[in-house]
């Protein structure tokens, strides 16, 4: 059965060389005003560097270990803070991490994509880690959708937030969505120091390389730096091409605004070499998952 053209097929692909600024910042914990000014500085620097898109990490406006501060720092995606940021960004597209308060007063760990002064998409983190050092489900409501969206300059784009990226299903959905660019915004704390690389950073590298190749997409991971109560966020933001090669990376541990420039023609070349998304048997996957659903949920 031939599927109807997906919205991916009908939307415009990315064109020409694109420049993405990875804003590897160290936000202050719960100091939204200070972080806001930091965002303005970074946006200004990204624009000066001719970036088409500037990507901030997870919870970039607030910091990570918010705990009981969550309701105090929450904003709305259509609120004045975001509006002011988008005005500052001008024609540069922006991805920002924030605590979103819904009209029903649920709080989400969210990231938005905006371009041309307009919010195009808000992703609410689906997988809220609540194990080991993490405690997110205590404070946040979980998002209930994983969707890609069409952009003016970057073709079809998907956003995942940190732990979302560790779930194969999220990447599989993004593959079915036929994304050109997969963004992962993260607040990943360092664990494992046998070296030479931090163990968590190594895992992110594996995931980014694997997903980039399997999706035939550019994968951009933007992680923060700095410390919160002894936790070290390791930075190392990285853009990986559809062939699995590193396009650009920011330093480990230190703040930076790293520019990744990539030629979108590479997406075409790589999809000719390995048309994995094209050959994906989506209906088969759906049917098998429905069978598993009947077995596990409908008995």
């Amino acid at each position: 059965m031939t599927p109807a053209p997906s919205s991916a097929e009908t939307s415009t692909g990315p064109r020409g060389p694109l420049r993405v600024a990875m804003a590897q910042i160290a936000p202050r914990l719960g100091d939204r005003e200070w972080n806001f000014r930091l965002h303005l500085d970074q946006i200004r620097a990204a624009r000066a560097a001719d970036a088409d898109l500037v990507v901030f990490p997870e919870l970039s406006l607030t910091g990570y270990f918010l705990r009981d501060m969550v309701p105090d720092v929450a904003i709305r995606a259509d609120g004045p803070e975001i509006e002011e940021l988008l005005a500052a960004a001008g024609r540069t597209a922006v991805v920002v991490g924030f605590v979103e308060e819904s009209p029903r007063h649920r709080f989400y760990n969210a990231a938005l994509y905006a371009e041309g002064g307009r919010v195009v998409h808000v992703h609410r983190k689906v997988y809220l880690p609540t194990y080991g050092l993490f405690d997110e489900q205590r404070y946040f409501a979980a998002g209930d959708r994983i969707r890609a969206f069409d952009t003016a300059g970057f073709g079809r784009v998907g956003i995942l937030i940190c732990e979302d990226f560790w779930h194969l299903s999220a990447a599989a959905i993004m593959q079915a969505e036929e994304v050109d660019v997969l963004l992962c915004v993260a607040n990943s704390p360092a664990r494992g120091v046998q070296g030479p690389k931090i163990r968590t950073a190594e895992t992110y590298d594996h995931l980014a390389r694997t997903f980039a190749q399997l999706l035939g997409a550019v994968v951009i991971v933007v992680n923060r730096v700095g410390f919160e109560d002894g936790l070290c966020f390791w930075g190392g933001s990285k853009a990986t091409g559809p062939d699995g090669r590193t396009i650009a990376e920011a330093p480990m541990l230190d703040a930076a605004l790293a520019i990744a420039e990539f030629d979108t023609a590479e997406l075409r070349r790589q999809r000719l070499i390995a048309p994995l998304a094209r050959d994906e048997r989506l209906l088969l996957t759906i049917e098998e998952l429905q069978r598993i659903k009947r077995l596990r949920y409908e008995v």
Binding site: R28, L29, G30, F227, D229, C232, L253
Partner: protein, 279 residues
């Protein structure tokens, strides 16, 4: 490497650890509103590593090393402390504590040597905190992960600090870090001692070596091996039980005092904020 060694790999990359810990010190000290650090130096491996890290992180002029000898403090304690301080060029102040300790115990002549040891540890703590106020710095902790887990320290004594860079490193791992940082060989080679009384050594007092217990703790705590698995891999059942008991019994030392809950928001239970709140 034996197959067992592969399971219990306590190797660290000292360069990577140093990169993290020097940033940790700089950033956490700055967030608290300070630029300086104060460390009680004993001439042992733990406090030496902390001073080396602090000097590297903040610059030696921003680090105050305090020596606080009691009259039984050994010559090694004194000379090794001196060599650390001199090789780094950190600031130094010597504040002997014999007078106030002896004055106090003159009233309690039957006190055990453990009481004396704990009193000395707490006396040093009050000196550290007072001197930190004068120096406008934060007191750095020098308890390692082995000691913290085993409860081998004095609550509100040597366990007290504002921030601790080495609390997640086992003693075995500290030796690797010490070698990388250039801590003098004499300090790295000597037998671990709290110098609590003449001739005291940690391993005699604990009844096992750090090399052995660190391997056990790494499996038990970090990798969460169960008792039969630990015994099957070669650890004596008595050691496994003894160490598990020490970890459990001493947990109180690692926590804030227990508060009786009455309201809807109680400190640390449902009043939850990071220490770095707002910074």
């Amino acid at each position: 490497m034996k197959s067992e060694d592969a399971k219990i790999d306590l190797r660290i990359d000292p360069e990577l650890v140093t990169e993290i810990l020097t940033r940790f010190l700089r950033e956490e000290i700055r967030r608290a509103g300070f630029q300086h650090a104060v460390v009680g130096v004993s001439g042992g491996i733990d406090s030496s590593v902390v001073v080396y890290l602090a000097a590297r992180s903040l610059g030696p002029e921003n680090v105050l090393a305090l020596t606080m000898p009691y009259k039984t403090s050994s010559e090694a304690t004194r000379s090794d402390s001196r060599s650390v301080i001199e090789s780094l060029g950190v600031q130094h102040r010597d504040v002997p504590i014999a007078e106030q300790i002896d004055d106090y115990f003159a009233r309690f002549p039957d006190a055990s040597r453990m009481r004396l040891a704990n009193k000395c540890a707490r006396e040093r703590m009050t000196v550290l905190y007072d001197q930190s106020a004068a120096f406008e710095g934060l007191v750095l902790g020098t308890s390692n992960k082995s000691e913290l887990l085993l409860g081998y320290g004095t609550q509100y004594g040597d366990m007290a600090s504002a921030i601790n860079p080495i609390g997640d490193l086992y003693k075995t791992q500290l030796y690797q870090l010490a070698a990388y940082l250039g801590v003098p060989e004499a300090i790295r080679a000597k037998t671990p001692t709290g110098d609590l009384w003449v001739g005291q050594t940690d391993e005699d007092e604990l009844g096992f070596t750090y090399a052995e217990v660190d391997r056990l703790l790494a499996l038990m705590v970090d990798r969460r091996w169960r008792r039969p698995e630990l015994i099957a891999t070669g650890f004596a059942a008595e050691l496994v039980d003894r160490v598990a008991t020490l970890v459990r019994r001493n947990h109180y030392k690692r926590r804030m005092p227990v508060i009786a809950k009455l309201s809807f928001r109680t400190m640390d239970r449902d009043f939850r904020y990071a220490r770095d709140w707002g910074t």
